[in-house]
């Protein structure tokens, strides 16, 4: 929770900004590192450390080609009811989920 507030403030700033941004704003560098580590280590519990899939499907770019990052971000935040995919909203902010989803689709998550 403590980590959300700076990001929430950032999101608010963006919402007030007069420009509309297509890509998600980049989280601060240390938060990026934390997100990418979470992706490898904890998403990796089910999707595999190399994201080749396991209990959860592969998250490699060839498998995500054509997927809308906004939709993937919503899955990250809310999970998929009836499956083991849990909601991550409690520790990942919406714009962070969007940033992560874009990285996954583009294969820039290393």
């Amino acid at each position: 929770m403590r980590l959300l507030s700076p990001c929430a403030a950032f999101a608010l700033l963006l919402a007030l900004a007069p420009v509309s941004l297509a890509a998600a704003p980049a989280p601060p560098p240390e938060r990026q590192a934390w997100l990418l580590r979470l992706l490898r280590q904890d998403c990796g519990s089910c999707h595999g450390l190399t994201l080749r899939g396991g209990l959860g499907p592969s998250l490699l770019p060839e498998r995500l080609a054509g997927r809308d990052p906004a939709e993937l971000a919503r899955i990250i935040l809310d999970g998929i009811p009836g499956t083991p995919m849990p909601p991550w909203r409690f520790e990942i902010a919406p714009e962070e989920a969007r940033w992560l989803a874009e990285r996954l689709v583009e294969g820039r998550d290393r």
């Binding site: 904890d42 519990s45 080749r52 396991g54 009836g82 083991p84 849990p86 909601p87």
Partner: protein, 395 residues
């Protein structure tokens, strides 16, 4: 001074140094050896529990996320199952890779037959079980996990329970299968469909009698009595959640290695902060629920059954709790480091080895005093496996 003089006498050397075999390898036993998986680096650390100390690192083993190991009956060789379908036979004494194959695209674990001759791997892709000779990893049998709709299911909960008998479950097929490889050329299977939604892992009790399968899609577990003439799956702990919505699960519980202490079996309540305790001698009825720190991932009984040690799912994974079995209550809480992944006891239970992934550390505890004996650096350590598993059914 005296010491220097003694060392100068060559005839004393054999007493002071470990014996050496003719081939030059140090001659030692293997009953106190083990491996720590460094999952993000495709490597393992070899260790021994007598000093205790780390003996060395073996690299180049592929994707070791969720990697697990079983052991040859002479406790010299480990068979390491990688996520990427890699199967490695490793010499615990020398650290040498004796044989290595990539047998599938995605695997989840495996088992070694009771007679020590066959190593079976549970595969996600292509879904099924592949069996190899323990001697040289030559292929022996390929058993696809076909489902009713013509597809293939991912295989979970592959366990040994007899000389050449295995049990496994179909994650996408809601089915248990018993595989008899007495004649490897003619695999004989018994199928038990419709056991419940999404079996995710399983265990065999230490006596090899019961196969217990956890379900993700329903509150309850499935029990199969392997000693019965006609085994019939039956539900235990049905509706343990009592209709309440479970919490999201950030790491699935693992069932293999789950605790049996005396007649009591400690089982995870998926998505809940509790352990469920059933009594084998009372028809597997629930006898207690123990509130714990988070969602349990592993609950492992100390070999004497006096304690059960529990670790937890993300994000409450910096804590290990110790349950006193006679009191059925948490009596201690330890913090070995960040992101505790796994725990492994020495055969008599005097030590427990615990991996703390995000602290890059393995901590060894004295289980009687609940105090730290030693800590070792390791790179993102996950699973810890000791050679003593060789002698245990279902490990």
């Amino acid at each position: 001074m005296i010491r220097r003089h003694l060392l100068a006498l060559p005839w004393l050397w054999p007493l002071a140094r470990p014996a050496r075999a003719r081939d030059g390898a140090t001659c030692r036993g293997t009953g106190d050896l083990g491996l720590v998986v460094e999952r993000a680096h495709g490597s393992v650390l070899r260790f021994e529990t007598s000093t205790p100390s780390v003996l060395g690192r073996v690299e180049g083993l592929g994707d070791l996320s969720h990697a697990a190991a079983v052991f040859s009956r002479d406790q010299r060789y480990a068979f390491l199952f990688g996520r990427d379908g890699g199967l490695t036979k490793l010499d615990l004494l020398t650290g040498e890779v004796v044989a290595r194959i990539v047998q599938a695209g995605n695997a989840i674990g495996g088992a070694i037959s009771g007679d020590g001759t066959l190593v079976a791997v549970a595969n996600y892709d292509p879904g099924g079980v592949r069996v190899f000779a323990a001697a040289d990893l030559a292929p022996v049998a390929d058993i696809p996990a076909g489902t009713a709709d013509g597809g293939r299911s991912r295989v979970v909960g592959l366990e040994d329970w007899g000389p050449r008998h295995f049990a496994y479950a179909l994650l996408d097929g809601d089915e248990i299968r018993l595989l008899d490889l007495t004649d490897p050329a003619r695999p004989y299977q018994r199928r038990f469909p419709g056991i419940g939604r999404m079996p995710y892992d399983a265990l065999v009790t230490p006596d090899g009698r019961y196969y217990v399968v956890g379900l993700f899609g329903e509150d309850g577990l499935v029990l199969l009595d392997l000693w019965a003439e006609e085994p019939r799956p039956r539900r235990i702990l049905a509706g343990y959640g009592r209709g309440e919505r479970p919490l999201p699960v950030y790491k699935m519980p693992h069932l293999e290695g789950w605790a049996q202490a005396g007649d009591l079996l400690f089982l995870p309540a998926v998505g809940r902060f509790e352990l469920l305790v059933v009594d084998r001698r009372d028809d597997f009825r629930e006898v207690a629920r123990i509130p714990v720190h988070g969602q349990p991932v592993f609950a492992v009984a100390r070999p004497d059954g006096r304690q059960v040690w529990v670790n937890f799912a993300h994000p409450r994974n910096d804590v290990v709790q110790v349950i006193d079995v006679p009191r059925l209550a948490v009596v201690a809480e330890l913090r070995p480091g960040r992101a505790v992944m796994h725990l492994e006891f020495t055969p008599r239970g005097d030590q427990v080895w615990i991996s703390a992934r995000d602290s890059d550390r393995v901590v060894v505890y004295d289980t009687a005093r609940l105090s730290q004996i030693k800590a070792f650096e390791a790179r993102t350590p996950s699973g810890i496996f000791t050679s003593a598993r060789a002698a245990r059914i279902g490990f």
